[in-house]
Symmetry: C2
Subunit: 608 residues, 2 copies
């Protein structure tokens, strides 16, 4: 996830582009850069880190000119660095481009271009597009862009300028968002509306396979095959704050709704021929995987809850013993680590202090470390032996949602990949799991349609100060995460219990009308779970059951039921957690607290 902007008109582009980028920083803040045509050549200035770093550089060397593009980066291919920052240019500096998305066939293209003598200065997938433009240049910018994108696989929103035709800004979109802003004597492109809203409220939303040719006083839309597109512009009535949130009231709600995409993106390119291929990310050989004696999942907070799912998944699929530990405990308890221990650290930001310290502790004892993180080039990603990136994109809300589900996907991929090497499960069964994995995003969309029912239940629980979550097996792991969400933002004291443990003490707290959210998605322990639900019902609890589509039994034991689509037990956490995230969200809204910035908490905990 990155943000791109572009300007063509009669004003100085630099300030407009910078201001636009500042509205897109929620899309990434690993680096930023501008390319501006100064009447003769294209000047480029870019910098690793936040936008302010670029601003400082521009104070020293500004970029005059009235045509330009800009980029704020969420690192995907290649660590955050000056070299890997956008814009990228071809060898002669004739073309400059900014890109949001992933070019999946970039390795193939890069090899082809290298063979032709091209030299690359960055590790990005994007640079190949700049070089390709140069290679395919035929004297006409629009047709050269068309020929170029015909060679690309993957997702892209591109902004392109060229010295050859400095009266134009060309934009193309496939599977990454792009809008065109229509001004008076000036026009704009951007990844998202807030970046241009100060200048115009009239926009075109590009669709997949469409391109826009912007001149100062004219915008032409066409398909990449050259056929013209006739579309009315839209008038934006939102304010900027709403627009940044994509029309949602809060980032958390937006991010909850981004989960189907996060699931798809995290799976993308990692399934080949119906099986998992992590060979690009995980450098362990089959023998090395089979030689792993034990796995330690180490993480904090929500990522720890993902690790709990990891324990089930890895033990079940690969039959390797797994221990899951809170990083702040792990690092101080002198854990038993050998060279045949694999430590999997999980951290959205990749900067969580305790997790990073645990990683270092593990490496010190000779363990192999795999990081699951959302941030390319983060400390955890840099220091681990291998990294599996979760392609959730920047997560702004403090309460993590899409990062968690993406971590689960990464864990399923890892578990299946190891299972393929270990051979405890028949290949047919693994293919079955992979096929269910591929259906998860669509099913997550299905779950999101149930939002109104969850909202209603959230209203009914919002007055309570205490409530409980119950589950068995994987449902317990999800219950812990659901409970944490509710605590974090609604300040309701909720607590999750392994349902069979309740009678060993905590059942004393169950009294008339207390809400108990009971997960019953695991078919293997379904009957036991129903018994536990009846125990709390008998004490007067107000029970919300979470069941699988087609379950007509649970509603006999509970007060309300919410259904999620059927999948295999192993994968149900991805779907089961979504109603719980929505429950926390709407309970918080009902109670009137700040959803995205809960009291006392920070997004990325870089202190111990």
């Amino acid at each position: 996830m990155c943000g791109i902007v572009g300007y063509i008109g009669s004003k100085q582009a630099q300030g407009i582009l910078l201001e636009g980028l500042s509205k897109l920083e929620y899309r990434g803040y690993d680096s930023a850069g501008l390319a501006v045509y100064n009447g003769e050549t294209i000047g480029v200035n870019k910098s690793k880190g936040r936008l302010t770093n670029l601003q400082d550089k521009l104070k020293v060397r500004s970029l005059p000119g009235q045509l330009g593009i800009g980029h704020t980066r969420w690192a995907t291919h290649g660590k955050p660095s000056d070299e890997n920052s956008h814009p990228h240019v071809d060898h002669a500096g004739r073309f400059a481009i900014v890109h949001n998305g992933i070019i999946e066939n970039y390795i193939e293209l890069k090899e082809e271009l290298i063979a032709k003598g091209y030299q690359f200065t960055s590790e990005t997938d994007t640079e190949v597009v700049a070089k390709l433009l140069s290679e395919l240049w035929n004297g006409d910018l629009v047709s050269t862009v068309q020929k170029t994108v015909a060679r690309l696989e993957g997702a892209y929103a591109l902004g392109i300028v060229s010295e050859y035709e400095p009266d134009k800004l060309v934009a193309v979109r496939y599977a990454s968002p792009l809008v065109v802003g229509i001004g008076k004597g000036e026009n704009f492109i951007a990844s998202d509306i807030p970046a241009i809203l100060k200048h115009t409220r009239d926009v075109y939303i590009l669709e997949d396979g469409e391109m826009a040719i912007l001149k100062a006083d004219e915008v032409t839309l066409m398909k990449v095959d050259g056929s013209l597109v006739d579309r009315e512009s839209l008038r934006v009535n939102w304010d900027i704050a709403t627009a940044e949130k994509g029309g949602y009231d809060h980032f958390m709600l937006k991010e909850i709704h981004e989960q189907p995409k996060a699931i798809r993106d995290t799976l993308a390119g990692r399934i080949k021929d119906g099986l998992v291929d992590l060979s690009q990310e995980v450098s362990l050989s089959g023998d090395e995987i089979r030689g792993i004696e034990k796995i330690h999942f180490v993480a904090c907070g929500t990522a720890y809850h993902a690790g709990l799912v990891g324990k089930y998944v890895l033990e079940d699929l690969a039959r390797i013993p797994v221990e899951c530990d809170v990083a702040s405990e792990y690092r101080y308890r002198n854990p038993i680590i050998t060279e045949r221990t694999l430590v999997v650290v999980v951290s959205q930001s990749g900067e969580t202090a305790d997790t990073l310290a645990a990683l270092r502790e593990a490496k010190k004892h000779g363990a192999r470390v795999i990081a699951i993180t959302n941030v390319v080039g983060s400390s955890v990603a840099r220091e681990a032996d291998d990294v599996i990136i979760t392609w959730a994109g920047p997560e702004i809300a403090v309460a993590s949602t899409k990062a968690y589900t993406s971590q689960l996907i990464a864990i399923y991929l890892l578990g299946t990949y190891f299972a393929q090497a270990c051979g405890h499960k028949a290949e047919a069964e693994l293919r079955e799991i992979v096929s269910h994995l591929q259906n998860l995003a669509e099913k997550a969309e299905e779950v999101l349609k149930g939002e109104p029912a969850v909202e209603q239940f959230a209203r009914s629980i919002a007055k309570h100060q205490n409530l409980f979550f119950l589950g068995r097996g994987l449902d317990f792991a999800v219950a812990l995460e659901g409970s944490l969400k509710l605590k974090e933002i609604s300040y309701i004291h909720s607590e999750a219990y392994a349902a069979g443990e309740l009678k060993h003490g905590t059942l004393a707290l169950i009294e008339e009308d207390i809400p108990v959210i009971s997960l019953a998605t695991q078919q293997a322990v379904y009957d036991k779970m129903v018994s536990n639900i009846q125990e709390v019902k008998a004490r007067g609890a107000n029970v919300l059951g979470l069941a699988v589509e087609g379950d007509t039994e649970l509603n006999k034991s509970v007060d309300e039921v919410i259904h999620i689509p059927a999948t295999i037990d192993l994968l149900s956490p991805v779907l089961a957690v979504i109603p719980l995230q929505l429950l926390a969200y709407y309970a918080c809204v009902e109670r009137g607290y700040d959803v995205d910035k809960p009291r006392n908490l920070a997004k990325s905990v870089t202190v111990e």
Copy 2:
């Protein structure tokens, strides 16, 4: 722990003895029995199980006579069975005895008597005393008893009758309680006052090394060396209900105070020459111990919290990887168990349904199973390969206290025993640990003296509906147990957190005046803990700190401090939990709930 009674007078003994035993059932209910002299011989009737079983048997064959003794058993040596029930008699039936306590040198005595031709019909330690009386009989009952007890090591309260001198009932005490009740034309002995309170309120409390010779109208007290003891009788002003609780308001408080004794009893006989000897209990050879690949602690509720301590202890001392799991989860999650897995199940009652099922699951997969339980002959004890009994005596209050601390002691013994075999720790260090173990009971007595301060803090938190416990490492394990106690009986929603995890979500719940009980007894993570305390203080929490004697720092960061005596980090849970038990107790009293029988809960959870 057992209960004994005795009667001499002009009434029929049977009914009086039975009624006395019914008041002592809290001391054990594995079996019961009577021996009554009928004018010619001593008749014995006894039965496994509750007192009602004996009553049924007596309806078929009653025991007429005016001199008799009775016993209700809490099995120690030998499973609960008819044969192992008291009273025990010598081979000719001339002597009958009842015994509360443990004869530590009974194996040696038994071998000596077997060599002389004596045959034994039970597995008990007690039977040797009956045979020894016969062997040492010199024509005078009192001097024969004196010669007999001179041979005994251990603890005993004995009631003795003999056909040779049927005008007497002889009682002796060493380290087990015994009272003499003074009637009119009748006299009584009993383990505890409630058993005789219906008949008299005038009693002598025997002291260690004293004996009483009861005739129908006379009681003589002397030391076992024959010197007379001149003591005034006491007048009991309690009611019976209070008396059963030993003067305490509730069984829970009584059991909290019994912990120093439970610690001593659980250690007794298991330390030899400054090291741990569990060879009587644990049949694993040194090679077998060294061959253990991993240990699974499996338990429910409070016993699970003991298992969490077990993880730290075994990993630290023996460097064997340990996983601790809730039994209701373990049994259903297809855990990875091999023949080199040792499963340690922990259960006070030995009848916990999920724990028993987990034990069976583990055995099915070829694991070796050690049970830590408080009940000899319980299902868990019978089905495990080896059993380490916690000598806490019967626990009546639903909220477990002395069983937990005894489980910890058993775990320390196991960990040290394994460490001796594994050789990762220097013997000197292990001896140091053992020496600290031996000081724990005395230090626990010291902790109990701090009761008034805890009571005061309990009053201040009783009005709250929510609070938190924090700790790191072993303090976290103890925090979980302290929190469970508070939930169980005071119905305050308390929750324990690994202190480093708080900022990953739950910190949002910390607001002005919310009580936070913070354990800071672990020197290795003390500074980190103080930082976490300051985080909650900064949000306005009312913090009770638990610190080690001599800590003059913590009071600068918290509102109140309670100190426990210094010991090594590893052992501090035994001391740290006591103030938390008292806190729960007094919070419950302050809130006016039923301490011993909390709502919704049962003592021994024999359903899933």
